[in-house]
C-alpha cells in the first residue's frame, strides 16, 4: 500500500512543478519556427510553436528586429493551411508581432482574401488584424469591405468592423466618418454587442456636433436599447446632453431626467448603477432628484457582492461631500460596512460617516480608522485625509485629535500624493483653526526633518516662513529651517532663500535659546548680506556681527531664555552684566527627600536668571523694574542649627528685596506662616514696603520668604538689618507625617545683614583694560590717594579694596606676587544705573606695613566716579 501512495505523492510533486513551457528558450523556439516553412504543414505542430512564441512574448521576452521579421515571414506561409485553429493563432501572433509597413504588404492580400471569405470567423478576424496593422493608404482599398462588414448579418463580423472603426477613428477620422449611415443602421441591430459598438462609434463620429448628439440621445432614449453596455453608454451621452443644455432651461424639469430615473429600474445592475451615478453627478442636483438614486445605491450597500457594495459606497461617499443630508438615510447600512472584509469598502463607509455624522461620533470613528489605516491603499488614505480635513473644519473643537491623527500618519510610509494630501490638510487646518496652528507647525517641522519629497519640503519651509514669525515662539522653528539649510539639496535651499520671511526668522533666531543656533543664524544672515539678498538690513547685521558684545554670553543666554515673547522686543540692555555668580552650595543634608505635592516651590533658585524669574512671578515685586544685581547667599544661621537660613540681596534701582531661604531641619515640626521680621533702624534710608510670608515649611523642604524695602533711587544706600524668624510651629507625628491642627507661635533670632556699596556694583570685566581705559577718556576721571593703615601684606589690602568695591579684577591683576612692595590692580564694573566704571589701583607698602593707595577712577558719569571715591573713603 505504501508504494502506490508514495508514487502518487511523487506524481503530485511533478504536477505542481510541471509546466509545458519548462526550460523553454527563445533560440530553440525560433529554430522550431522553421516548421512553418515545411511544404507539408503540420497545423497541430505549428499551433504549438505559435503558442510557445506567444508564451515567450507574454513572459516579457523580446524579439530583435531580425528575429521578429523572420518569424513574421515564416508565419505568413501558414495562410496556406486551411486549418481553422491554426489560422486563429496566426491572426493572434501577427497582431503581437506588429509588423512594419513594408512587412504588412506581404499579408495584405491573404487577409483581404479572408475578409471576403464565407467563413464568419475568417472575416471577423481578418478585419481586426488588418485594421490593427494597416495604415491609411491601405484603408481606402478595404473601406468598401469594412462598410459591408458593419452591416454584416453575423454580429461577430459587424462588431469586429465597428470596434476596428473606433480604433481607426483616432488615426483616420475622415475615412471612418464616411461610414455613418452603416453605423447608424448597426445601432438598430438586434445583436446586443453590435448595438453597443455601433453606438460607441456613432457617438464618437458625432461627438463634436452637439445637435447630432442631442438628436441621437432623443431618439434612443425613446426607443429600446437592448444591450446593457449600450444602455450605459446612452446614460453617459444623456448626462452629457443634460450638462450642455442645463444653461438653457430656466424652468421646471430637467430634460431626460425621467430617462435616467427609468434606468434605475433596469434589470441589469450595471445600468442601474450607471444611472444612479449619473443622477448624483448632475449639476445642481436637487434632493428630490437625488432620492431615487440614493435609494437604489442603499440597496446595493447590503449586496453580497463586494463590487456592488464598493460601487455604491464610493458613489455615496462622493455625494456626501456635497449633500451629506441626502446620505444620512444610509447611515445604518454604512455602519455595518465599517467591519467589511474589504478594507476599501470599510474606509469609504467610515469616511462617508465622517461626512454625514455628528461631532459625538468623531472619536469613535477615528479610533476605527486608525486600526486599518496601514492596510489600505494610498488612494483611500487620501480619501480618509480629505474626510478628516473637512471634518476638522466642521468641528474645530476636535482639532487636537484630528491633528494628532494627521501627524501620526505623516510619520508613516507613503507615496508623494498621500503625503501631499496630509501636508495640504495640515496647512489648511493651520490657516483656518488658530488653535491648531502651533501644533500643526511643529508637526510639519518634524516632517521636513526626514522628508524624501523635495517639493513638500520647499512648500513647508515657505509656509513656515509665512506662519512662523506670527507664532508666540518663532525661534522654535528656526532649528528646523536651519537644519534644512545645511542638509537639503539645492532646490530646498533655494526655497529657503527665496522667501523674505526667512530673514525675520533669522533675526529672531539671533535670540534663540540655543547659542549654536544663534551663531549659525548670525553667520547665515551675514551670508545673506554678502549675497546682496537683503541689503537694507546689512548695517544691523554688521553691527551685530562686528560690534563688541559687552555682556557675558552666559547672561545673555539666560536672559534670552527668560524673555517672554510679547509686544516688547527683547532689549539687549536688560541683560545682567554681572559675571555669573557661583552660588554657594546649599547646606543641606545629602539625600534629601523630594518636595511633596502641594509643597512650596522646590529649592532656592541658584542663578541670577532664576532669581529674576522668581521675583517677577511675585506680584508685589513686579513693579520694581529691572533686577540689577543679586548677591551670593549670605548665611544668617550657624551650621547645624534647627533652622537654616541664608539671604540673597536683590538690588533694584529703587528697591532692595531680601530673599530668605529657609530650611526646617526638625522632622517633628511643621512651620507655617514663616516670615522674617526685619529691624531697619540702622538703615535709615530704607523703608519696608512689602513682606511675603512662606505659608508652610515642612521638614527638609526649603522655602523662601521675602521682605522688600524702598530706597532712594540711584543712591547706593547702605545699612544694617537685624532679622528675626517668626513662624507658627506645629508638631508632626513622625510615623504618619501628619501635623497637629494647633500650632504655637515662635521666633528664632537670625544674624544681622548688611547692604554695602559693593551690592550696587556689577562685576563686569573688559577684555582689554588699556583700550577700554583710553577710550573712556580722562573727562570723568577722579584721582586721589588714600592711606589704608597697617595691613598684613599687600595682597590682603588689595583683596579688601576689591571686595569693598565689588568690581571685577581684570587681566589677573588681583594676584599679588609674594613679597611685592608695590602692585597695580585693574578693576572694571557696572555701577547701578548702568554706568560703566574702570578703576586703576596703585598700591605701595612701606616699612611698618602701612599701605598707601592711589585710586584712579574713570566712568561714563563723573558723579559715579565721585561715588567710588566716597565708598573707598568711607570703607
Amino acid at each position: 500500500m505504501a508504494q502506490p501512495f508514495l508514487k502518487k505523492d511523487d506524481d503530485h510533486d511533478d504536477e505542481a512543478d510541471y509546466s509545458p513551457f519548462l526550460g523553454i528558450e527563445k533560440g530553440a523556439v525560433l529554430q522550431e519556427a522553421r516548421v512553418f516553412n515545411d511544404p507539408q504543414l503540420d497545423p497541430r505542430r505549428c499551433s504549438q510553436v505559435i503558442t510557445k512564441l506567444l508564451y515567450l512574448l507574454n513572459q516579457g521576452e523580446t524579439f530583435t528586429k531580425v528575429e521578429a521579421t523572420e518569424v513574421f515571414f515564416a508565419v505568413t506561409k501558414l495562410f496556406q493551411s486551411r486549418d481553422l485553429g491554426l489560422r486563429r493563432m496566426v491572426y493572434v501572433i501577427i497582431k503581437e508581432l506588429s509588423p512594419s509597413a513594408d512587412e504588412v504588404i506581404i499579408v495584405t492580400s491573404s487577409l483581404m482574401k479572408d475578409m471576403t471569405s464565407k467563413t464568419d470567423m475568417y472575416r471577423a478576424n481578418a478585419i481586426r488584424v488588418l485594421c490593427r496593422i494597416t495604415d491609411g493608404t491601405l484603408l481606402t482599398q478595404i473601406e468598401r469591405y469594412l462598410k459591408q462588414a458593419i452591416v454584416d448579418k453575423n454580429p461577430v463580423v459587424a462588431s469586429a468592423a465597428l470596434v476596428s472603426g473606433i480604433h481607426l477613428l483616432q488615426t483616420n477620422p475622415e475615412i471612418v466618418k464616411r461610414w455613418s449611415n452603416e453605423v447608424q443602421e448597426a445601432v438598430q441591430s438586434r445583436a446586443a454587442l453590435v448595438q453597443f459598438h455601433a453606438l460607441a462609434l456613432l457617438h464618437q463620429i458625432r461627438q463634436n456636433d452637439r445637435l447630432a448628439v442631442n438628436k441621437l440621445v432623443s431618439s434612443l432614449t425613446r426607443g429600446s436599447v437592448r444591450s446593457p453596455l449600450a444602455q450605459c453608454l446612452l446614460i453617459r451621452y444623456t448626462s452629457q446632453v443634460i450638462r450642455e443644455s442645463a444653461s438653457n432651461t430656466q424652468t421646471g424639469d430637467r430634460p431626460f431626467y425621467d430617462f435616467l430615473e427609468g434606468c434605475l429600474r433596469h434589470k441589469a445592475e450595471m445600468v442601474i448603477f450607471e444611472a444612479a451615478r449619473a443622477i448624483t453627478e448632475l449639476n445642481g442636483v436637487t434632493s428630490r432628484e437625488l432620492t431615487p438614486a440614493i435609494t437604489v445605491l442603499q440597496l446595493f450597500l447590503s449586496s453580497t457582492k463586494p463590487v456592488l457594495r464598493f460601487a455604491a459606497v464610493r458613489t455615496l461617499n462622493k455625494v456626501a461631500m456635497t449633500h451629506p443630508i441626502a446620505v444620512t438615510n444610509c447611515n445604518i447600512d454604512m455602519e455595518s460596512l465599517i467591519s467589511d472584509q474589504n478594507r476599501s469598502i470599510a474606509t469609504l463607509a467610515i469616511t462617508t460617516l465622517l461626512k454625514t455624522g455628528n461631532e459625538s461620533s468623531v472619536d469613535r470613528l477615528m479610533k476605527q480608522i486608525t486600526t486599518f489605516m496601514s492596510d489600505i491603499a494610498d488612494e483611500f488614505k487620501i480619501v480618509v485625509i480629505e474626510a478628516i480635513r473637512s471634518l476638522c473644519l466642521k468641528f474645530p473643537l476636535k482639532h487636537r485629535s484630528l491633528m494628532n491623527f494627521l501627524s501620526n500618519i505623516l510619520r508613516e510610509e507613503g507615496g508623494f500624493e498621500y503625503k501631499k494630501a496630509i501636508v495640504d490638510s495640515i496647512v489648511i487646518l493651520i490657516r483656518d483653526i488658530p488653535e491648531a496652528k502651533e501644533s500643526g507647525l511643529l508637526h510639519l517641522c518634524e516632517f521636513i526633518e526626514d522628508c524624501e519629497f523635495t517639493y513638500l519640503s520647499t512648500q513647508i519651509l515657505h509656509f513656515l516662513g509665512i506662519e512662523g514669525p506670527k507664532t508666540s515662539d518663532p525661534s522654535k522653528y528656526i532649528r528646523y529651517i536651519y537644519n534644512r539649510v545645511h542638509l537639503e539639496n539645492a532646490t530646498v535651499r533655494a526655497g529657503i532663500l527665496l522667501q523674505p520671511h526667512i530673514f525675520v526668522l533669522l533675526r529672531r533666531c539671533l535670540f534663540d535659546t540655543d547659542d549654536e543656533v544663534r551663531d549659525r543664524a548670525t553667520l547665515y544672515l551675514n551670508t545673506l548680506v554678502a549675497d546682496g539678498a537683503v541689503v537694507e538690513t546689512g548695517e544691523d547685521v554688521k553691527e551685530f556681527l562686528f560690534g563688541s558684545l559687552d555682556i557675558p554670553l552666559v547672561n545673555l543666554e539666560r536672559s534670552l531664555k527668560n524673555y517672554e515673547p510679547s509686544e516688547e522686543s527683547f532689549d539687549i540692555n536688560s541683560v545682567p552684566k554681572e559675571v555669573k555668580i557661583q552660588p554657594l552650595a546649599e547646606k543641606k543634608a545629602p539625600g534629601k527627600k523630594p518636595t511633596g505635592l502641594g509643597g512650596p516651590p522646590p529649592g532656592p533658585p541658584s542663578t541670577i536668571d532664576a532669581y529674576e524669574k522668581l521675583l517677577s512671578s511675585i506680584p508685589e515685586f513686579s513693579n520694581f523694574g529691572k533686577l540689577f544685581k543679586s548677591s551670593a547667599p549670605v548665611e544668617l544661621t550657624e551650621a547645624e542649627t534647627e533652622y537654616a537660613v541664608n539671604v540673597v540681596k536683590h538690588i533694584f534701582d529703587g528697591h532692595v528685596v531680601f530673599q530668605y531661604n529657609c530650611t526646617n531641619t526638625i522632622p517633628e515640626q511643621l512651620l507655617e506662616n514663616v516670615t522674617v521680621i526685619v529691624d531697619a533702624s540702622e538703615a535709615e534710608e530704607f523703608a519696608e514696603v512689602a513682606s511675603k510670608p512662606l505659608r508652610s515649611l515642612p521638614y527638609d523642604s526649603p522655602g523662601q520668604t521675602f521682605v522688600a524695602f524702598e530706597k532712594p533711587e540711584g543712591v547706593p544706600a547702605v545699612g544694617k538689618f537685624s532679622n528675626m524668624l517668626r513662624f507658627i510651629v506645629k508638631e508632626v507625628d513622625p510615623s504618619t507625617g501628619e501635623a497637629e491642627d494647633d500650632g504655637v507661635e515662635d521666633e528664632y533670632q537670625l544674624e544681622e545683614l548688611e547692604v554695602v556699596a559693593a551690592d550696587y556694583m556689577l562685576k563686569v570685566g573688559v577684555s582689554n583694560f588699556r583700550n577700554a581705559w583710553e577710550s573712556m577718556g580722562p573727562d570723568c576721571e577722579r584721582v586721589d590717594e588714600y592711606g589704608l593703615g597697617p595691613r598684613e601684606n599687600l595682597a590682603e589690602a588689595v583683596n579688601a579694596v576689591i571686595n569693598l568695591l565689588g568690581m571685577q579684577p581684570c587681566e589677573g591683576t588681583e594676584v599679588v606676587p609674594s613679597n611685592s612692595r608695590s602692585h597695580t590692580c585693574l578693576l572694571s564694573g557696572v555701577y547701578i544705573g548702568n554706568v560703566k566704571v574702570l578703576v586703576r589701583l596703585q598700591f605701595g607698602i612701606d616699612g611698618p606695613k602701612d599701605v598707601a593707595m592711589k585710586l584712579a577712577v574713570r566712568s561714563e558719569d563723573e558723579a559715579v566716579s565721585d561715588v567710588i571715591h566716597e565708598i573707598v573713603a568711607s570703607g
Binding site: P20, F21, L54, R82, D83, R87, Y91, L308, A377
Partner: protein
C-alpha cells in the same frame, strides 16, 4: 464621462504572482518592467483577500481592479478610476467563466498552461484594444474553441483534441439549457 468603457489590462497570474497570460491595452505601462512591477504590487495587495466566491474589488494606483481567484489562478481586470465597476466585473466574469468552460472545470495553472492557446484566444475574444468585444462566457469560449472544427487536421496529440472535444461538448450543453 462620455467615453466608451475601456479595459486597461487583463491579467491571469498564478498563486505566486507569476504570469500565466497577460494582455495590456493601455500604454500607461511603457515597458515590461513597469508591467511586472504593477503585477507584483497588485498581487501582493490582493493576495490575502478572499476572492473565491465573489469577485473582489480594489482601488490601486488610480485604477479600479476587479479580481477573482480559483485554485492557483488569479484573474484580474483593470479599469480607469472612474469606470463603472460593474462593467469591469462583467468583463472579469466573462473571462473567468470562459476559461472555466475551456478547461472543462479543471481550472488550475497546469491546465491553463497546457491550454495556453485557448487562454490566449479567449483574451483575444473578450477585448480588442481596450474595448469590450464580448462578455458572454459561452460565446467567448465557443469562439476560442472553434478552431478544431476542421476535422481533417491531423492531430499528433490525442489529449489536446480530447480536451477540445470536451470543451465543445460542455459548450453545447450550456448552450442548450
Amino acid at each position: 464621462m462620455e467615453s466608451c468603457p475601456s479595459i486597461k489590462n487583463i491579467l491571469l497570474l498564478d498563486s505566486e504572482g507569476n504570469r500565466v497570460a497577460v494582455k495590456y491595452y493601455s500604454d500607461e505601462w511603457p515597458n515590461n518592467s513597469a508591467k511586472e512591477a504593477f503585477e507584483k504590487s497588485l498581487f501582493t495587495k490582493t493576495q490575502k483577500t478572499n476572492a473565491r466566491t465573489e469577485a473582489e474589488i480594489a482601488m490601486f494606483e488610480s485604477h479600479i481592479i476587479v479580481y477573482k481567484f480559483v485554485q492557483d489562478l488569479h484573474f484580474f481586470v483593470t479599469g480607469a478610476e472612474n469606470e463603472n465597476e460593474l462593467i469591469l466585473v462583467t468583463a472579469l466574469q466573462g473571462f473567468f467563466d470562459a476559461v472555466g468552460l475551456l478547461l472543462r472545470g479543471t481550472v488550475d495553472k497546469k491546465e491553463a498552461l497546457e491550454n495556453l492557446d485557448l487562454i490566449l484566444l479567449c483574451l483575444d475574444e473578450i477585448v480588442d484594444g481596450g474595448i469590450i468585444l464580448e462578455t458572454d462566457a459561452n460565446v467567448i469560449a465557443g469562439k476560442a474553441a472553434s478552431h478544431s472544427i476542421d476535422a481533417a487536421a491531423p492531430l499528433s496529440e490525442q489529449t489536446i483534441s480530447q480536451a477540445l472535444a470536451t470543451a465543445r461538448e460542455h459548450l453545447a450543453r450550456s448552450l442548450l439549457k
